[in-house]
């Protein structure tokens, strides 16, 4: 299960709305307590995918990941997941998402239609590289 304070949840949904019709993305920083993950900071990042394809692609470059790792270390947190939006598409991982996903991270996907966040769901990749839905609790 992933727990997320309402203000950070709103920030994730607003990020998707702001970037519409392109995909918005960022990282979730937080702590892991056994099976419960708690988001304590969200880090919106620039979509580094080439212009013209950002309506259906997002990319967070390794340099941004390095900076995020440093920030997480400073705050005593870990990168626990990734969020991104699917403009006009369901809040579930695509095959493209699955092929590039890393295990362990929580992937929060937000469906945005007409610049309005409709729904956010969280997913995790198994060792068999299959996505399972993870309970997302807004606190």
């Amino acid at each position: 299960m992933i727990q997320i304070p309402a203000e950070f949840f709103a920030q994730i949904q607003e990020n998707g709305e702001e970037h519409y019709p392109e995909e918005g993305a960022g990282l979730l920083l937080g702590k892991v307590h056994g099976e419960i993950r708690i988001v304590e900071q969200v880090l919106p990042l620039e979509n580094r995918f080439q212009p013209g394809a950002r309506h259906n692609r997002y990319m967070i470059e390794p340099q941004d990941m390095l900076l995020a790792e440093e920030k997480a270390d400073e705050l005593g947190l870990e990168i626990i997941g990734v969020f991104h939006s699917h403009p006009d598409h369901p809040a579930r991982p695509s095959e493209y998402d699955r092929q590039r996903a890393l295990p362990w991270y929580s992937y929060i996907i937000t469906k945005v239609t007409d610049r309005l966040a409709i729904e956010s769901r969280s997913w995790r990749l198994t060792d068999e590289r299959i996505f399972n839905e993870e309970q997302l609790q807004i606190k």
Partner: protein, 251 residues
Amino acid sequence: MTTLKIPTPLRPYTDGMKEIEIESTNVNAVIREIITRYPALKPHLLDESENLRSYVSVFLNDEDVRTLQGMDTPVKQEDHLMIVPSIAGGLSSESAIAKVDHAALRTNQAMIIGLLLIAFVADLPTLALIVGVIMAIGTVLAKPGFILSYRLLRQWKVIKPEVLPDNPEPHSFAQGFGSIVLFGAAIAFGLNGPIVAWILTWVVIVLAGVNLFLGFCVGCAVYYWLNRIGLPLFRQESPAGRFPGIRPPKV
């Protein structure tokens, strides 16, 4: 000992270890050693061809090794290596692929072949150079060089558009490569080496012919292979389930 830092998502495969010390001489040997110690890491670090996955980077003291000597970058005892994932995703593969009008590409190939054959038969090096220039202009504009011929043929209803899901960038790359070969031919003509010049011209004729008649774009295949080894300007991947460079099936 060189220190290798493991990112959080891969720590479950290294018994929770955050940092691992490895005695090695270069980056490649470090990666091989870590995989030997923790075999479950392999599918997350290497692809089917045993190359580092395109979305996995290795940093040596805060510098991406791709900007150094790649996997052959030497490492010293006091160095810090980090495995850093880049995160990518998005909507489904099919909706992500752009559209390419393959009738326009085939017209382009036919024009290139026809004009270069005329240049060869009539011994007109200038014509070969003109074809190279038109291809170069097309590459810069991200269009087939002979797009105007195609538009005329369409207007006259000689040819119908055939718009297929495909990536345009590899075709641009292929055309650009062809124009460079023709510029090489022009230089060879200038240096009084007509045999080399005509061989280069024939390379372009043959590659365009393979594309036109066999449906295999050699330049596109090269582009996709460069993508696989992670060169930064080659971002498009070969569409799933298709051999790189093969013309997409009709829909």
